[in-house]
């Protein structure tokens, strides 16, 4: 009896070892993955008009460097290859083809900008290469039917616009709204969301003026003056940091005092409010899904301390007041979580499957209550946000987490 039991135990142990060995031997790899390495490709505007976003790529590289120092993912080191595309779509196509065909990366991660990502959308889907966690808030990345290899990450611009619309409708029902927006999908998506949140008939009455700018414009001063002249008492600014800072300064300088809503794309204190002038930014309302590193309420938490330790050791070039470094940190953590979940099956198919099955994934630097969820029909990981107001030093969150779906 004991003999039999011992034999059974021995056999099952052998079986386990064998199974483990088999699993190891059966480690399945797509291009760019091996027993020792996972190659990840990326494009970033390190030069050109959108170069203020270059910090995202540098911070992601810094996060992967830390992961590698801690032994990598399931024993595999990450090789993060990030190329400059100057925010020019033809350059993005070239860089991505080089990453896929020459560098043989497993996947594309956090490629930045709506036009650059649109340029590589079909190429990556045709070639079945994951285009994961696109660094753009456009709604179109959530299209699993037609583009099953592309997934967004950020709360979409429409989601956020809807949240502002709902807030204004409830709290400022008599508002006359002026909108400054960048003349592209990014700007137009916010406007669609805002209209949607207000409701179609209300939106027509409440939005009294709109002005656009091009990224090649030197300033938005004349647009702000024109919006003030419309008699609006609410201003919604949908602009990238450089132009958002100009808008804030101009609004203050001409003595206009609207309730100022600022899109989250540009609510970084370091990149927008400090250049604009902190005293000129008091009272601005925005929305957030992640912790502001300058907010004292987080600074005693272990999550913040871990982030700060990483900033001090690995991302020394980054500014600790810059929210973009927090986004990059969370982007990279999502990537690491998906790769961990993929285990030893590092094929493009499996990585995509894992990315599409996140269930309430919590990340340390996201706001409490906000989690990432995806499914085969839902390729938009973050859908909630919370409103916040700037008090001259930091953003103060107020109200509950709002879903923008």
């Amino acid at each position: 009896m004991t003999m039999k039991r011992a034999l059974m135990a021995g056999l099952s142990a052998a079986g386990l070892i064998l199974a483990g060995g088999l699993a190891f031997a059966a480690g399945q790899y797509g291009p760019g993955a091996s027993d020792t390495e996972i190659k990840i490709g990326n494009t970033m505007p390190y030069s050109g008009p959108a170069s203020s976003y270059g910090v995202v790529g540098k911070s992601e590289a810094a996060y992967f460097a830390m992961i590698n120092d801690k032994g990598g993912i399931n024993g595999r080191k990450i090789k993060f290859i990030s190329r400059d595309d100057s925010y020019s779509p033809p350059k993005t196509v070239e860089a991505v083809r080089k990453l896929v065909e020459e560098d043989q990366v497993l996947l594309l991660f956090s490629t930045l900008g709506t036009p650059p990502n649109t340029a590589i959308w079909n190429y990556l889907n045709d070639n079945k290469v994951p285009q994961l966690f696109v660094a753009s808030g456009a709604d179109k990345w959530n299209d699993p039917k037609h583009h099953p290899w592309t997934m967004g990450w950020l709360p979409t611009y429409q989601t956020e616009g809807r949240i502002y619309g709902r807030y204004i409708l409830k709290n400022l029902p008599n508002a006359k709204i002026a909108v400054l927006y960048q003349n592209d999908d990014f700007g137009k998506d916010y406007l669609i969301g805002l209209r949607d949140g207000l409701g179609d008939d209300k939106a027509g009455k409440m939005i009294v003026a709109t002005q656009t700018y091009e990224t090649t414009d030197p300033t938005v001063d004349s647009q702000i003056v024109a919006l003030q002249a419309s008699g609006a008492d609410v201003l919604m600014t949908v602009a990238i940091p450089k132009f958002a800072a100009q808008a804030i300064r101009k609004v203050y300088d001409i003595g206009w005092k609207p309730t100022h809503f600022l899109c989250s794309v540009s609510n970084s204190v370091g990149a927008t409010l400090r250049p604009a002038g902190l005293e000129k930014s008091v009272g601005i309302i925005s929305a957030a899904y992640e912790k502001d590193p300058t907010d004292p309420q987080w600074q005693d938490t272990p999550e913040y301390k871990n982030w700060l330790a990483w900033m001090k050791t690995y991302n020394t070039a980054g500014n600790v007041a810059d929210g973009l470094t927090v986004s990059a940190y969370s982007f990279a953590q999502t990537m690491v979580a998906v790769l961990k979940a993929s285990g030893d099956n590092l094929t493009r198919e499996n990585v995509m499957r894992q990315a599409a099955s996140m269930h309430d994934l919590k990340l340390p630097m996201l706001l409490p209550g906000i989690t990432l969820s995806t499914s085969a029909n839902d390729f938009a990981p973050i859908k909630q946000m919370q409103l916040e107001k700037f008090d001259g030093a930091t953003w103060k969150l107020f109200g509950a987490v709002i879903s923008g779906r």
Partner: protein, 357 residues
């Protein structure tokens, strides 16, 4: 062999004095050899390099277009990216909206850009040198905005996504290599047309206008007609290049056609040799590879490296690569021929003496 036209006037008597017995044949063999090499090349390198080389040839067609205007006719344009964009969007809109096959978009792109060039060239007749540069600079600056403004047609910021054309099924090659061959054919045709145009009456008229407009007019050259023609031909080449680029990249959007693109063409033109035809290929290589090389050398300051490369080329070869090396090669060849001729002549003399004595 290519020669700059200015060089040709000096070279002509010398070349005639020592004509290579079979220079024409040699030239044809060399040209055919190069073409054969260009046809074989895509089958020995990876698909990505095929794509890069395709872009090189597209830029070469564009630079060639600019050379006709800036090099041979002396009209400096900083706005040719606008015509490149016009060609690209013509192809994209025809393919996307009207389902026109990709190859059939090239003639309309050429025609539309020729017409646009002539229209733009008419007022440009009143502007010389730096003033024309400024007028065309305005065009380059306006291009992205114009593309966004007509967003019903152009798709605005979103641009237009195109499906890459497939090769005919009887040909067993992939899309990248097929497109390479199409672009190669377009480049060869463009170079042939440019050579016919420039190495003849028209070319001489264009150069005369560039070198001395008053004297040219006094000689009875219709300067307005030739300048407009130069503008139109130049933009026609741009349009074809733009259309090919749209087909090869599979996407058009305003960000791709900014001022920097126009400046790149001028840089490529100057580096390759502004008043040459062969220089266009060097220009295409420069436009495609130097920014990437600069990025590989230093991702902190790639444009400083790019600038340095430009300075290096301009200081060492102020006439451009082909403009500077071309005459040198011609001179060396002539010396070799002269030596050969002298040697052969000496032999004859010797023989002659032998027979007479």
């Amino acid at each position: 062999m290519e020669k700059s036209v200015i060089g040709a006037t000096f070279d002509a008597p010398a070349v005639d004095r020592y004509p290579a017995p079979n220079a024409g044949t040699q030239r044809w063999i060399a040209a055919l050899g190069l073409i054969a090499l260009a046809v074989v090349l895509p089958f020995v390198v990876s698909k990505y390099h095929v794509f890069e080389l395709t872009m090189v040839m597209i830029y070469a067609i564009a630079v060639l277009g600019l050379n006709i205007l800036a090099g041979y006719n002396g009209q400096i344009s900083l706005g040719h990216g606008g015509f490149f964009a016009a060609g690209a969007y013509t192809a994209a809109i025809l393919m996307h909206r009207y389902g026109v096959p990709y190859w059939a978009t090239l003639p309309p792109a050429a025609l539309i850009c020729f017409a646009l060039g002539v229209l733009f060239g008419l007022p440009a007749l009143r502007f010389e040198g730096p003033y024309l540069a400024l007028v065309t600079l305005a065009l380059a600056l306006a291009t992205p905005q114009l593309l966004k403004y007509f967003d019903n047609w152009t798709g605005g910021q979103q641009g237009i996504n195109l499906t890459k054309p497939l090769p005919p099924h009887w040909l067993v090659i992939d899309r990248d290599r097929w497109l390479y061959l199409i672009v190669l054919a377009a480049l060869l045709l463009a170079m042939r047309i440019a050579a016919n145009l420039l190495h003849g009456r028209t070319g001489r008229a264009l150069v005369a206008i560039r070198d001395h407009p008053i004297a040219a007019a006094a000689l009875g050259i219709d300067t307005a007609r030739y300048k407009t023609l130069a503008f139109g031909t130049s933009t026609l080449f741009m349009g074809v290049a733009g259309a090919l680029a749209a087909i090869v990249i599979g996407y058009v959007s305003p960000e791709g056609y900014n001022l920097f693109l126009s400046l790149s063409f001028l840089v490529g033109s100057a580096v390759g040799g502004i008043a040459t035809i062969g220089g266009a290929i060097i220009g295409g290589l420069f436009i495609e590879f130097v920014p990437n090389l600069a990025n590989d050398i230093s991702d902190a300051a790639p444009w400083a490296i790019y600038g340095l490369a430009m300075l290096l080329f301009m200081y060492t070869m102020p006439q451009g690569v082909v403009g500077s090396l071309g005459p040198w090669i011609t001179r060396s060849m002539r010396q070799i021929r002269a030596q050969r001729a002298a040697f052969a002549g000496g032999d004859e003399e010797h023989d002659g003496k032998g027979r007479t004595s």
